[in-house]
Symmetry: C2
Subunit: 158 residues, 2 copies
């Protein structure tokens, strides 16, 4: 489910040709991390993982990653995963959640009336779930057409 | 050299009791990362590492970490390592450098006239070497006294 999303190269800092071993190592993290799936009609259509963002003195802040199949857009699957993961992290005692690298909307693509504004839907979802953009690292993500866009650092208290 | 710095618990999101295996795995990264040391009178008194901050579409941005023995403060060792690592990353073709978790000055400690304002010297050094603070994740670092301070995300183009 994850490989086509990574292969598209628009949402994750993962090599587009990452193989199963790479994806498994990156996503199937050991405890205390948690990995969950969203199932529709008996099929996995989305997944998320959450765990400590940093070790030691930073381990009270969680991070999380989300991926939903393209066909699920607009059906509430991302929101359901987001709400579930926030509840899990809160129950696990984390005091906040931080995203390190949320691909920003490519303002140039929007200006050119591109079909898809990169990750616009995801950023809007995180805002609606209470996340604030702490800052945006400029030009930190290379899109498939070779242009760059920013990576948001997002945060909310739990 | 690194373990006493991590054990102090004031500058790195590393467990204070991290053992040699943990520290080696974290610091001695394989290529394309690079690890360097600063030597004074035949003894290692500082070290730094640099490599890609993210994979795939984020791999054009480097990150780096630095550690200098307490006795080296004010002797230019941190600056020498910083300038050297910036030159290495530039030569390796990275377009920018990003720090993900620079411990912010604890404003409460300063207000209380504490002896050491956490990491103040390091933050000032990065600013003088051209880094800007993109954002600060609030309360993301727990100091040894149980209070929290922020973690800066810092960035400069190369």
């Amino acid at each position: 489910m994850l490989r086509p999303i990574f292969a598209e190269g628009r949402t994750y800092t993962v090599p587009p040709d990452a193989d199963d071993a790479w994806v498994t190592r990156m996503w199937m993290l050991p405890p205390p991390a948690r990995v969950v799936v969203a199932v529709r009609d008996g099929r996995v259509v989305g997944t998320a993982k959450t765990g400590p963002n940093q070790a030691g003195p930073g381990s009270h802040v969680a991070t999380a990653s989300f991926a939903v199949e393209a066909g699920e857009a607009g059906r509430g699957t991302g929101r359901a995963l987001g709400e579930h993961v926030l509840a899990l992290a809160r129950a696990d005692g984390y005091s906040a959640m931080q995203f390190n690298a949320v691909v920003a909307t490519n303002t140039r693509a929007v200006a050119l009336n591109a079909v898809v504004a990169t990750n616009t839907r995801a950023v809007a979802l995180w805002h609606s779930l209470g996340f604030a953009t702490v800052g945006t690292v400029p030009d930190a993500f290379t899109l498939p057409d070779g242009t760059t866009t920013g990576l948001h650092v997002m945060h909310r208290y739990l």
